[in-house]
């Protein structure tokens, strides 16, 4: 039986405001437990919430960037349940009048562009942290009350890859808005997934399982892949999938049922009487819209038309806002009209360096001018492409210019024929078999010889020149 997976995602984004959603405690991390608490977020009797203005303005930005319609009337509701990390015994959230509805995120799939509908975006407060050890559990309320946005999609995704693409796109949009640092490792972006299977062609939805505890985009993909397989096996065996919550265990690479959860929660939502209604005028929505920076999709399109680069390259360069700004500057400063050399360099060696160092292009602390100097050295054949990578590494490590490094390490490419002749002679002498292979028709043997010359010259020989010289020498003899 061929099944189609139906996937919906619920993402929680922690906003980067200075203070919490409903009180003036700092929303900061890495401090001693229970340092940033006050009567309000501690849930002391008599304390009352007051909404942080920036939470609403961030919510408007996100809603608009996702193409949602912002609601003119929005309110907060209490979601009632008991848990030690929930000081008031209820979470202030939004139920039936969320701030934004009906948006979308477009992702690239092998079959072309696909639209994943965003059902709603709403504001809520985070709970505290619970830690466990042999003796018992410990409650730290630093995080209690930190503002969150919950972004829920319709079940429009059909593969783990699509889910991954959605998350990547979503993260990139939110980073552009600078409302969160979207870091799954730090917990400022969390994702729960709902997945069900149905026979291909069937329109009714199957029973879904909710997956939690995935700590990275890759984990989301892996968990979905596993779960789809698990559900398929059950259905193939004639069984029924249970509607339940399952936790992803990354170590064992499996999902496990949360059997410890008792009866389903009845959250008893009702409008929070301690907070007012929030009326958002069309003018305010217009102002918020005007305040949104150029988003990744728009920037990529602009790069394509302004700089003549491919959609693929534009996508890579615009994924991160700061990287895009850096790339744009480099591209603009690059003197020639054909931007390909600098673009290739950004996407190739520079991106590789950035990835290996675990930072973005802009995190390399390289100035566009210095990068351009390096690229021009390559273009002028002063150094080979291969050597330029070494130079680049050192430029970043030592914060020096390309020129300084090339001179001090004597890395200038050797293109001078007479200089190369000597090395070529030795290589030909030491690799008699290859020479014979070439003469007996194996054209590729020359590449091996070129490699040997490169090796012997510590990479400094100009490979094109070497290749030419070798061919001539081999033809001669």
């Amino acid at each position: 039986m061929e099944y189609e997976a139906v996937i919906g995602l619920e993402v929680h984004v922690q906003l980067n405001t200075n203070t919490k959603a409903f009180c003036a405690c700092r929303a900061e991390f890495g401090v001693e437990p229970n340092t940033n608490i006050c009567p309000v977020c501690l849930g002391l009797p008599g304390a009352l919430p007051v909404l942080n203005k920036v939470v609403l303005s961030h919510a408007l930005k996100v809603g608009l960037a996702l193409g949602c319609s912002i609601q003119n009337r929005t309110k907060f509701d209490r979601k009632n349940y008991f848990y030690p990390d929930l000081p008031k015994g209820y979470q202030i959230s939004q139920f039936d009048l969320p701030v934004a509805l009906a948006g979308e995120v477009r992702i690239d799939t092998p079959a072309g562009e696909k639209c994943v509908r965003v059902k709603r975006v709403h504001m809520e407060e985070d709970a505290g942290k619970l830690m466990h050890d042999a003796e018992g559990s410990l409650v730290d309320l630093n995080r209690a009350g930190v503002p969150l946005l919950e972004i829920v999609t319709e079940p429009d995704m059909n593969t783990p890859d699509e889910a991954y693409a959605y998350l990547t796109k979503l993260k990139s949009v939110i980073e552009y808005l600078d409302v969160s640092d979207c870091d799954m490792e730090k917990g400022s972006l969390r994702c729960d997934a709902n997945v069900s299977l149905r026979p291909k062609g069937e329109s009714r939805l199957g029973t879904k399982a909710e997956l939690k505890n995935m700590n990275s985009f890759k984990a989301v993909k892996d968990a979905l892949l596993y779960e789809i397989g698990r559900q398929a096996e059950i259905l193939d065996g004639g069984g029924k999938v249970a509607q339940e919550t399952r936790l992803w265990d990354a170590r064992q690479a499996k999902t496990f049922s949360m059997r410890s959860k008792e009866e389903a929660h009845d959250y008893r939502y009702f409008p929070d009487p301690d907070l007012t209604l929030f009326l958002i005028t069309d003018e305010e929505i217009g102002e918020a819209r005007a305040g949104i920076p150029e988003l990744p999709q728009q920037k990529a399109a602009r790069f394509m038309s302004e700089f003549g680069i491919s959609a693929y390259d534009a996508g890579i360069l615009t994924a991160d806002k700061r990287d895009a700004a850096f790339a744009e500057e480099c591209i603009k400063v690059f003197p020639s009209g054909d931007k390909k050399p600098v673009v290739n360099y950004l996407i190739g060696p520079l991106l590789a360096e950035a990835n290996s160092r675990g930072c973005g292009l802009s995190g390399l602390k390289l100035s566009p001018e210095r990068l351009l100097e390096l690229v021009s050295l390559v273009q002028k054949n002063v150094i080979s492409n291969l050597v330029s990578k070494t130079v680049l590494k050192e430029m970043i490590d030592r914060q020096a210019t390309a020129d300084e490094i090339v001179k001090s390490r004597n890395l200038a490419q050797i293109s001078d024929t007479s200089a190369l002749d000597g090395i070529i002679t030795r290589v030909l002498a030491e690799n008699v078999k290859s020479v014979q292979d070439f003469r007996s028709g194996k054209e590729n043997a020359v590449m091996f010889l070129v490699g040997q010359v490169m090796r012997m010259s510590a990479g400094k020989a100009n490979p094109k020149v070497v290749q030419e010289l070798l061919k001539r020498r081999l033809a001669d003899a």
Partner: protein, 481 residues
């Protein structure tokens, strides 16, 4: 005349003239309390004398300079026991002052550190639900002082307090004031900050003054009223000088008397007292007519859904995790919660929490909670219509005078129905005041209630003052204790 028998305004005058000191006032009250507390039990954990909180830095000078204010046990006073007369908050001392307390302090008032008794979490109409035992009505110690601010009302009536703060969600200031023969004012919702008032029903609660006369009520209201940025529901309207309207003529004021309030169930002596008051109003030149508040019969059911629903959520924070009582030796977290709340809450609290949880629960939300919110709109509209033509509405505060201790404890519904006249004002968010308007043949006080539109406290105070001056012109009857 003993200092303890004077009003706040009188004491302020004497202080101003340098004739007495703040210490003397407190001392007088303390001695009085020492003599009467075993009969009245207005205060919680009374240790033989009354003390006020030490002044932080230089004592502030203001209209209430040096005058002690007694405070109900559900209003947070920093580092002082604030237990809401509940076992679940036994020994709890908040690390912050309620906004009203900060305001009183900056006006120079001396905050009495011993709190006044109340029904647990303000759930009740008799103060019999206090974990410390009931207070007694100073006019007849076999009777209840009313509730839930029974301790505050009893203390003011027995001169063990100059004036006091209470809280009113469904009548908890007005009804005990009427039972104890003192003045009790519930301000417009949003007039006084709720920050630091342990929440019962967030959309209904207000803190208000319980005083010996109307002038003191205005004086205290001046101090505690006003916008508070820490309370999203407090309203940003200027606070007038509420004493300025006292003595203004009330000739021509249009008074409505709701016909739905004067029906069966009302004690004949209460009705008599009210009718006599209406005569007094007419003598003062006001015009009285019958009006209709057609949805009155739904007020109690609406209240007991909305108030308990909000309360069930507000009380969820009492779980033994961060403060208050925690059940000993709980095997696991689930048991810790259930036993803490099972052992920590009294019967009435449990009743209301379960009722409220039920009203919000899946499958019942529409039929109960949502419906109640709609009927609340109807009740609000009833008042809006009446206030379109009338300045205020006058009615009894309670259908009966103070009842005997234990009389209504067996039947919660009976107890709830005694709130019938006060509840609507909370639902509509309008201000209301109870003023003494006579006594029964048995010597129990009867209270009259005046209600007006949003932020029309001056209308209430003006009329109440005129009545007070006219009806018993300075000769306040005192309970024989």
């Amino acid at each position: 005349m003993e200092l303890y028998s004077l009003t706040g305004a009188q004491l302020a005058e004497l202080l101003k003239q340098g004739k007495i000191s703040a210490e003397e006032i407190l001392s007088s009250l303390s001695l009085r309390a020492a003599g009467k507390e075993d009969k009245v039990k207005a205060y919680v954990r009374f240790g033989g004398k009354l003390e006020s909180l030490p002044a932080e830095g230089a004592p502030a000078r203001g209209p209430l300079s040096g005058i002690p204010v007694s405070v109900k046990d559900n209003i947070c006073t920093r580092s002082c026991n604030t237990e809401c007369c509940s076992r679940i908050l036994s020994g709890y001392r908040p690390p912050y002052d309620a906004t009203v307390i900060s305001r009183l302090k900056s006006d120079g008032a001396a905050i009495v550190s011993t709190k006044t008794n109340m029904d647990e979490f303000a759930f009740g109409s008799s103060t019999e639900n206090s974990c410390f035992g009931p207070s007694r009505n100073p006019w007849d110690t076999q009777c209840v002082p009313g509730g839930s601010s029974g301790g505050s009302a009893a203390a003011v009536a027995s001169d063990e307090a100059v004036f006091a703060l209470g809280s009113d969600t469904g009548g908890s200031i007005r009804q005990p004031a009427s039972f104890c023969g003192v003045v009790g004012l519930k301000p417009t919702y949003g007039r006084v900050s709720r920050y630091g008032l342990v929440a019962f029903a967030s959309s209904l609660d207000q803190i208000g003054p319980i005083t010996k006369d109307v002038r003191d009520s205005a004086l205290l209201l001046n101090s505690i009223a006003g916008y508070d940025p820490k309370d999203s529901t407090s309203v940003n309207t200027p606070v007038p000088d509420y004493t300025a309207c006292l003595g203004q003529p009330v000739k021509g004021m249009r008074i409505g008397v709701p016909k739905e309030y004067m029906v069966e169930g009302i004690d004949p002596q209460v009705r008599e007292a009210l009718l006599r008051s209406l005569e007094e109003f007419k003598r003062l030149g006001a015009v009285c007519s019958e009006v209709s508040l057609p949805h009155t019969e739904f007020a109690v059911p609406v209240y007991y859904i909305i108030a308990t629903a909000e309360a069930s959520s507000n009380l969820a924070r009492f779980d033994g995790v961060r403060y208050g009582f925690r059940a000993a030796d709980a095997e696991n977290i689930s048991a810790m919660y259930s036993r803490t709340r099972g052992e920590g809450f009294g019967k009435e609290a449990k009743r209301r929490i379960i009722l409220g949880t039920f009203a919000l629960s899946h499958g019942y939300y529409d039929a109960y909670y949502l419906r109640a919110l709609k009927v609340r709109t109807l009740i609000k509209q009833d008042f809006e219509k009446v206030f379109g033509e009338f300045d205020c509405v006058v009615a009894p505060t309670s259908p009966t005078p103070a009842f005997k201790l234990g009389e209504k404890m067996g039947d919660p519904l009976k107890m709830y129905l005694s709130d019938i006249y006060t509840i609507s004002a909370n639902l509509a968010g309008i201000p209301a005041i109870s003023v003494p308007c006579g006594f029964t043949s048995g010597g129990l006080p009867v209270g009259m209630q005046i209600m007006s539109g949003h932020f029309r406290e001056e209308t209430l105070l003006k009329l109440a003052y005129a009545y007070e001056q006219s009806a018993y012109a300075g000769s306040r009857r005192r309970p024989e204790l």
